[in-house]
Structures are given as C-alpha cells and as structure tokens.
Subunit: 346 residues, 4 copies
C-alpha cells in the first residue's frame, strides 16, 4: 500500500468536488483500513456535491465524502477481533457512542452522539477508507462488490419495510428512487400483498415494475388517493412506505392509508407538513413510524440472509458504473433522474 491515494474531497464550501492525491488514513486500535472496491452515490452525496443549506450546516471541509461501500480489509487495528486482512466487507455508516441509553437498548440507530461516515468524518469515495470494526459486516464470496456496496440504502429499505407487519399487507411505496425500488423488492421478498409503486418519473416506474411492483401509479396523472382507492376496492392501502419526502405525497399517503394501517416515513420533507391528525391518524387507529438508518445490526443480518439466499436481486438497480475520475459525469447523470443506482468501481 502506498502512502498516498486518490480521494474525492469536498474541499471548498461551495458546489462541486475535487479528486486529489491525499495521505492514506491511519487506522486506530478499534478500526480497520478497507481497500474500497466499489462505492455508490446516495442522495445525501448529491446534497453535499451541490452544497445546499443542510450541507453547509453539517459537513466539515476538507472531507472525503461517500458512505456506501464494499471492499477488502487491508489492515486491522490492534484491538480488532472480528475481522482480518483479506476479509470482504461492507459496513454501517452510523458511528455511535455505544454507552448511551439508546445504544444500550437496541436503538443505536438514533444514538444522539452519532458521527456519520462520509458526512461528518471521512468516507469512502477514495482508494482506502477507515471503518470502525464494530460497524463491519462480512459479505458472501459470491456477492459482487458492485452490489455489496448497496448495503447502506438496502438497509434503509429493509428497515422501513420491516418497521411493522408486512406479510399479506397491501403496500404503497411512494417515491421510486433507489431506496423505494429496493423497498419494492424487499416487500415482495417478505410476503407483502399487492405492491403499488408511486412516482412522477416514468423511468422509475418502469424500474419499479421490473423490481416486482404489482401496480404502478404516476401521481402526476392520477392523484394517489384516487389510484389507491381504485386498486383496493375503496378500502385504502394497509402499509404506506413514504420515500419521497414530498409534502403533497405525504399528505396523500396518510389519506390513502386504511384503518389500522401503517405509514413509515423515510423521505425527508424540507419543510413542515400540515396533517389532518383527526381523520388520517386518530380515527383510523393508524401507526406512524419514523425511519432513520438501519437497525444495528438486526437489519444487517436480515440483508445478509436475503442476499445470500437470493431472495432479492439488486442487479437491475445498478444502471451505471463509473471510475472515480468520472465523478462529474456521474453526478450530472444522477441529477437527471434517468438512472437507478450509480456505482463507482474503484
């Protein structure tokens, strides 16, 4: 291993990024150094790339960004017991304190002391990355790195789908971005009833059908509530997986939900949303679940089994691959929405 490596940096507090030679990071006693073999672009990376208000508030500079990865362990810290050089791994990006009540009671994903790999500390758009050993998950030998780097968003999808009962329930996935598309596949693999994908982008709706949606709704053409009413014979949909963050879609999702149903919220609205709590939550006896990250590490073991046993196939999702030096092209493509998941092959 050389002393330097290429890394995609956020250097200036302004739109864009810089690919440059930087020192290979050193791994601490509880960490491993991973040679990154594949990484993928998340919507969060786009916020960082474009440098919006959230990024300005959140991201230190300079910082290597990117948090979705897979690779091979190159070096292990002296106290590490769960990994060795040569292991094929992916990993969780929430770096948590481990000693607060949330961490000690199964809710580490909402640890108030979380640091974020690739957001507040250096990440994986580079040849090497430092990962806390506790955050690693081993991947199967026959899972290609370009699919294995999708564990992080797949984890969001699995966590959202499984945040309540799913077997036999009718499901609407609102927002067919990459996580929504994964949610379609996961819901199907977990025994959901009718799965309806909703988006305004025909390209994404076609992908949703390919991932297993039983019906697709273009909400630009048909209001969500009307479409759901027709598809469910007027009963409403039992599970809403909200992955758009769009205030209108959120409101309609609540309205479309059936009595005793569930609405899991993953998409992040940029402003407040006004809700008819009486009619759409209280009288319906609805359950609403806020989703952050992935359960640490139940979700990871669920993913592992679903992938290892081939209950889900993520390959249709990876529509484009680039080398890291073509990052500008990659981010521009992503902005068009005419893509599934974009992967950097390192």
């Amino acid at each position: 291993m050389g002393a330097t490596m290429f890394g995609l940096l956020k250097e200036r507090r302004a739109p864009g990024a810089t690919l440059k030679q930087i020192p290979v990071p050193k791994c601490g006693p509880d960490e491993v150094l991973v040679r990154v073999k594949a990484s993928s672009i998340c919507g969060t990376d786009m916020h960082i790339y474009k440098w919006d208000e959230w990024a300005e508030r959140t991201v230190p500079t300079p910082n290597v960004f990117g948090h979705e990865f897979a690779g091979v362990v190159e070096q292990v810290g002296e106290r590490v017991t769960n990994a060795k050089v040569g292991d094929r791994v992916s990993g969780e990006g929430h770096i948590v304190c481990g000693v607060c009540e949330a961490c000690r009671t199964g809710n580490a994903h909402v640890c108030p002391n979380t640091k974020s790999f690739g957001i507040t500390v250096p990440g994986c758009f580079a040849e090497y990355a430092i990962v806390k050993a506790s955050n690693l998950i081993h991947i199967s030998p026959d899972l290609p790195f370009e699919l294995a780097c999708l564990h992080d968003p797949l984890g969001n999808a699995v966590h959202t789908v499984l945040s309540g009962e799913i077997v036999g329930k009718s499901v609407a996935v609102i927002g067919a971005g990459p996580i929504g598309l994964m949610a379609v596949a996961v819901a199907k693999a977990c025994g959901a009833g009718m799965i309806v994908a909703v988006d305004v982008n025909p390209y994404r709706l076609e992908m949703a059908a390919r991932m297993g949606a039983d019906a697709t709704v273009n909400s630009k053409e048909t209001p969500i509530v009307d479409a759901i009413r027709e598809l469910t014979g007027g009963e409403g949909i039992e599970v809403v997986l909200e992955m758009s963050g769009n205030p209108t879609a959120i409101r309609e999702g609540f309205e479309a939900a059936a009595n005793a149903g569930r609405v899991s919220l993953l998409g992040i609205p940029a402003q407040e949303v006004s809700l008819d709590l009486a009619r759409h939550i209280i009288f319906k006896g609805l359950r609403v679940v806020g989703i952050t990250g992935r359960r640490m590490y139940e979700t990871w073991y669920q993913m592992k089994a679903l992938l290892d046993q081939k209950r889900i196939d993520l390959s249709p999702l990876v529509t484009h691959k680039f080398t890291l030096d073509r990052y500008e092209e990659a981010f521009e493509l992503m902005a068009t929405g005419r893509c599934g998941k974009i992967v950097f092959v390192h």
Copy 2:
C-alpha cells in the same frame, strides 16, 4: 318494568336537551335490556348538548344520548348466551359489523361500519338502555355502579397507555381531563417510570397529583418542551400520551419526545396541525399511534383485572353526582372544568 321511562333526549337540532317520558325500548334477539344504575358525562356528550358542527353532522334526532354506563340486565334477547337477568354489567359503545376485515383481525375498534351507542343510536341517559349482548362486560359484585360506569373512558386511557411499551418509560400525559387523569393512574399501575401531567388548569393538575403523577406542569406558565427538558435531564420524554387535542400542545409534545420514543394521539384537534416530520418523527425514529375507542375486547379484560385486583382506584375521579333531572346543572358544571368525572345516579 313499566311501559315508559324517563330519558334525556336530544330532540331539537340546537343547544340543550329534554328530559321526558318515552317508551322503554324493546330488545332484539341479540340484545339485552339494561336497567341503568349509573351513567357519566363524556366530552362527546357536551358536544351534543351544546350542539356544535360535529354534532349537527353526526347525531340523528330525537335520540337518547349518553354512552358511559353500568347497570343490571333486566331482559335478554332469545339468542343471547353470555348474559342473564340480574347480571351486573357495563359495555362497549362501538357497535360493529363483525364481518369486515377490521372486525375479523382484531381491529374492530376501527370497523368502518360502526354505529355508536348514545351518538348515532339510542344510549344510556335513561332508565333503561338496549345493549348488544356481544358488547357487554360483566363487573365484579364489589365494584360500585358509579365507578363501573367509567369503563368506557377508562378503556380509552388503558388503550392509549398500552399502545406501546410502558414499563420503566418516562411518560407525559398532556391534557389532564378525566381520560388523562385515568391515564396517569393506569400508567402508574402498569410500571411506568416518571409520570408528568401537563395541563393549563390548576384544579386538574392537583387531581393529577392525587391520581399518581410524579410531576405536574402548568403549560400556561412553562412551555412543555422546557419543562420536559428539565425533568428528564435533557433527554426528552419516552412516551407522550396526547389527550388535549390542542394543536400547540401536540406540536410541543412531538418536540419533547425522546429518540425512539412514542407519541399516542387520543385528543382530537379541531383543525389540521403542522408538524416538523423530519426533526420530530423521522430523525428521532419515533412511533406515533392514533387511538380510537378501546381494543375489543382485550382492553376490557385488562380493565377488569386492574379494577378487580385494585391496581387502580377511580374513586377520587368522581367529584360530583347528580340525578338525571339535574342534567342542566351537571352540564354547566362540566363546562367550568372544575370537576373530575360527573356521574348520574339513576
């Protein structure tokens, strides 16, 4: 039994009520006739009495109102197998269809075909009332009728408290009306951690302390969020039981909730409420539960055990008793808020 009885009727579609002689109702094959021994006034009855927009939209006239009751079975329909003359009973007010998916899967409390005893069909502010046999619950011989008539609102409290984990959890009851006061007692009886009661009415806050609240907050004097922050050492409250229906209190309840916490919504806001879904639900990994009625009939068996084993004592709640002819006095007192539960002794 005479052929007529006194009943408190909503006759005119305008404020007020009428006490008059009416025929004793006939009981159908699946019903029982109950001689009402005690009944109590719910906030819903006040809406009917004052005749607000909701009442105008919902309540047929003429109709005997009142739905919280206890009494003795006087006559049983020919197909009834679970009750006999002389049984001491109270009962559920949701009259459900029994054949829809909600009814058949443990969610009868949100059956879309529900008729409401004392609201859309005749109720219990009368000498006799017709109750569907399936809706009866038997009460213990040593439970006085004036407490037994409180099963319906107690059921709301039990359902709300138990709509998620409670043992060891810090709890804020927002809105210390009768159901809120019961929720304080139920939460305490079920092993909650610190219980904080919140209201703007000092009389009610004193009652909350008497019912077992570990702390009380007058939200007119201290904002809910500040008070909770101080009481919990900055961590937020683990369970919010929202029983006020007040939009500001609802918003503050969400803000005061801890990561991985729960907000159960029982109080019905009259308008839409704007929420910061990102910060107050999604990033917190919060669970929100809409509460309607009582679980049929899990909640009733829980109530029975809590009352029979004296895990809760409702007697401090009954601050006033009237005979039915003094109904005007009773409703006026209720409007002042300087009362707990008002019971009609028949």
Copy 3:
C-alpha cells in the same frame, strides 16, 4: 338441488367409511349451504378412517367427515350478511363460541368451546356442506377449487411460520408432510433465510426441494443435530418448525435450535416427550410456541394475499385427484406416503 346427496360417512365405530345417499342438510339462520367443489384429505381424516383411539374418543357416528373444502354458496341463512348465493368460498373448520375470553381477545383458535367441522359435526366429504357464515372466506375467481380446498392446512403452515420472526432467519422444517411442504413455500415467500427440510421419506424430500427448500436432510441417514450443525457452521438453526410429531425428532429439533431461537410445535406426539429444559430451552433463551389451527382470521387474510398475489404456488403439492367414490384408493395411497396432497374433485 335435490333432497338427497352422496356423503362419505363414518357410520360404524371401526376402520373404514361408507359412501351413501343422505339428506342434504338444512342451513340455520347464521349458516350457509355450500356446494362442495373440491375437498382434500388431512392426516386427521386418516385417523378417523383407520379409527384409532383418538377417533374413538372424539368422533360421533354417524358423521360426514372431511374438513378441507372449497365450493360455491348455494343457499344462505336469513341472518347472513357476508355471503350470497354463487360466492366462491372456503372456510375455517373451528366453530367457536364467540363469547368466551379467548374468542373476545384474538385467541378464538383455542376457544375451549370449539366444535370441529368434519370431526365433531358434519363436514365436507359430500356434495353439500353446512358452514357457519362467520367461518367463510371468499376466494379469488382465478384460484381453482382444487387448490382453494387447501386453505385449512395452508393456514396451519402460515400460522406456524408466522408465530415469530421469520425474515432472514434460518429455518428447519421437521416433517415434510403436506403442511411441512407448505411451510417451506410460505417461509420462502416470507423472506426466510436458509430453509432446511427434514424427513425420512425421500419422496417427500424431493417435493420439499421443489417447494423451495434450500437444503434437505434425510434424518434416517444423518442425525438432525449433526446435519444442522454442518449447514449452519455450528451456530444452530434460528427457527424450528416441528411438523412431525415424532418424539426423537422433537428432541433433536430442540437441540439443533440456536440461542435466542424459536421452536414452533405443530406435530402432535402420541406420548409425552422428555426434554432437557435447562440446556435446550432455558440457557438458550429459546421461545417455544404451541400451534393449533389458524388465527381467526388474520391467517386467512394472509393466505388470501399470498395466493392472490401468487407469492406461493400450491399446485406442485396436489399430486393426486379422485372422485369421492374412489375414496378407498385415496386413503390407501395416502397410507403409503408416496403422495403430496390428495384432492377429491366433487
């Protein structure tokens, strides 16, 4: 409809059965008369046919037996609101009281007052059958009757699989009879991890592979514990679905279970079983679930969705079809174990 019909009767309290002309039964006010289009043979029917000790103790004579069916509603009782003539239906065989605590709290499947369709009251091996209206489930127009009659055993499988967490869990189905085979398909459809089918019958193990088992174990050749240890890298299996009723298999299932695992018991052992509670349940922190029937009616709605959305395909299971007059041949075949599900086409 004629006044008489053919029915397969248990007439004598001895092995065998009698096909004869009997009156078409009359339907009561809460019942429907179903024209049976297909029925299937359960292990229980074999006990009745062979007339073992359990049958002697349990079954009145004369009685039409058979309880797995699908058909068309021919006549409806005067109080029935959830079915009409011409509806395609199957139904639950537990006829429960509806008023006991079990029935009122979501546990009707263990109602102590249960009557059993086709066992203690007349069943479906006949041209017509009386079914309690509350027990009906409507089936999709494109589900053939010969598959729809399998709802009852499928319900056992679904209830067993879903009596605890299943997504991503490794599963051993011990006993690959028809319900075990269905459990393989259901576990796969619900996102289980590795699914291992165990039996002593090679014919059944081949069927298990066809239904989706990832591995099969012939426990005559390899002890269950050894096989599971090897398949799971020594960790044990997370979920054991015990469907054999064989005491040795039961003991080995407990031993093969992983820490924090689950053992769901459906197979009925004929005698007591000695268990090492300390090592195999307590120290492992195991959960054990006794399975009876199907959840009424959550399981039915789950089945409906799994079948309607084609998440499971039962057709490979139906290996043989007979007309009712060939019942002797059918029972003889069943005794050989070289069959999947045997269906009577009426």
Copy 4:
C-alpha cells in the same frame, strides 16, 4: 487504596471457602475498579460453596466468587468514557464478546462467548472488584447499597415477568425464593391481575404475601393444578413464572396454564423433564420462554425506573446482613431457607 485486600476465595476444589488477603486487582483499559459496598448471596454461590458437580465442571480455582454487588468506582481504565471515580454503580455479570450475532442483535444475554463475573472470572466477595465498564449501571443517590446490590437477581425477575404480556394477566409464581419474591413485586408493579405465589416453605409464602401476592399456595398441601383451578374458576392461569426448577412443579405449571397462556422458565431442573406437549403446549396454543440472565441492557433501565420511582420496594427482602468474615454463618443460614436475601455489608 492499599495493595492488598480481603477476598472470599474458592481455593480448593471441595466444599467451603477461604477468606484471605489477596492483591487488589488491576483494571484494564476498558474496566473500572469498584470498591464493593454491599454484595449478596445467590443460589449459584451456594452451589460453588458446596461444590457440586456443576461447580466442579464450571469454576476455576482459585477464584473470588460472588456476582451481586453495588459499590463506588475507585479507578477507571484509560478508555472508559461512561464512568468516573466516585460514581455509585452496580453491574451486569455476563461479560459478553460484543461481536457475535447474538450480541449485535439484542440477544447478548445468550452470547455463546460469555464469561461470568464471580463464576469463571473473579467476582465481588472482596473489598474491590474489576468490572467491565460496558457492564456498569449507575444507581440513584438515594438507593442504599444493600438494596442496590440486588440488581442482578431483580433483573432475572424483571426479565422473566416481562418476557410476554403482563398487564391484567393472572400470574402464578412457582418457587418463592428471592427471585420469585421479587417477581411477585415486579408483576404487581407492572399491572398484573391476580398474583398467586406457590412454594412448599411457609416462611417464603408469608414473605410472598408481604411482597404483594394476592394468594399463596403451599403445594405440599394442595396440588398446584387444583389450587389454580379453584382460584381461576377453572380457566387456568394466564402466566406461569417457573422459578423452582422442580420437575413436578414444572409439569404442574404447564398443566395449570390457560389456553393462549405463557410459561416462562427460569428455574433450572437438574434432570430432563417429561412433558405432555400435545395437551399442555400445542392444543393450548401456549408460549414458553426460556429465561437466562437479563436483557442487556433494557432490563437494567427498567429496573432503574422501577426503583427510582419507587414502584417496587425491595427492603422487606433483605432479612439478614453480615460482614464478610461471617460468611460461614451466612451460608449456613441460607441453607435453612428461613431467610430472604442475605447481604454482605463490606
């Protein structure tokens, strides 16, 4: 702190123990040194003291035994972030690996790599003890050390009571040793219905009544099944908390359980137990839960809240206190069974 301290050692692989001067242990980077202020005797300590077969198989010598403790942090390892000198603490005795699947998915209490404080590594019957920092729990300033040292067995009781639904359920605690007595108090504090304590020791049954049992049964005089049948009007008991480890009591507990009930097994039988799985688990739709240790660390936060809010009072349980030098007297007393919890005051 001096360089040596008094410690109660298991030195010889034979009955008895030795109190002697030994070096104060050194604390590693992730550990703290605790000055022990109070410790208590567990049944396990008695097995070690008497040196039975289990002890011979399990316990290395020489080893300081004892695992129930409370004290003050005297020194902290260099990597410790969750404790500081002077903190009042108790702690979990299961020292787990933290990296296996059980540890990473909320089941650390059954980590297959567990080391046991005071059993396989040095414990707390000494002036000082080394505790892994992750295992500490802070205790409230107003909780006396002599009660705080009871967290470990209290945790067993809380874990057992809360291993299924408890509110409103009738409960039988079989075996009124210290953990059983605590379970009575915890069940009552968590809203259980009727609580029945069962034992053969009148002294313990009196204590059970004092801890809140609604009924007590001396199973030497009345068979458990008969007593429960009478107390429950023939319905059986909804929750059995088995804390005796006695095979006959275990069998009767299963028989006494109601349909859809729960049996949680904590008491460890010395031999296999023969069970009628068909009648007592399967047909009843029973749930059985094996209990080991405490949930790490949900149970600890539940205990903290129950103690801090005074929902339970453990003081009646501590019937005897000794200084460590009177250990022989203490163990002899314990053997008589005429005591509650015996505490060493250091």
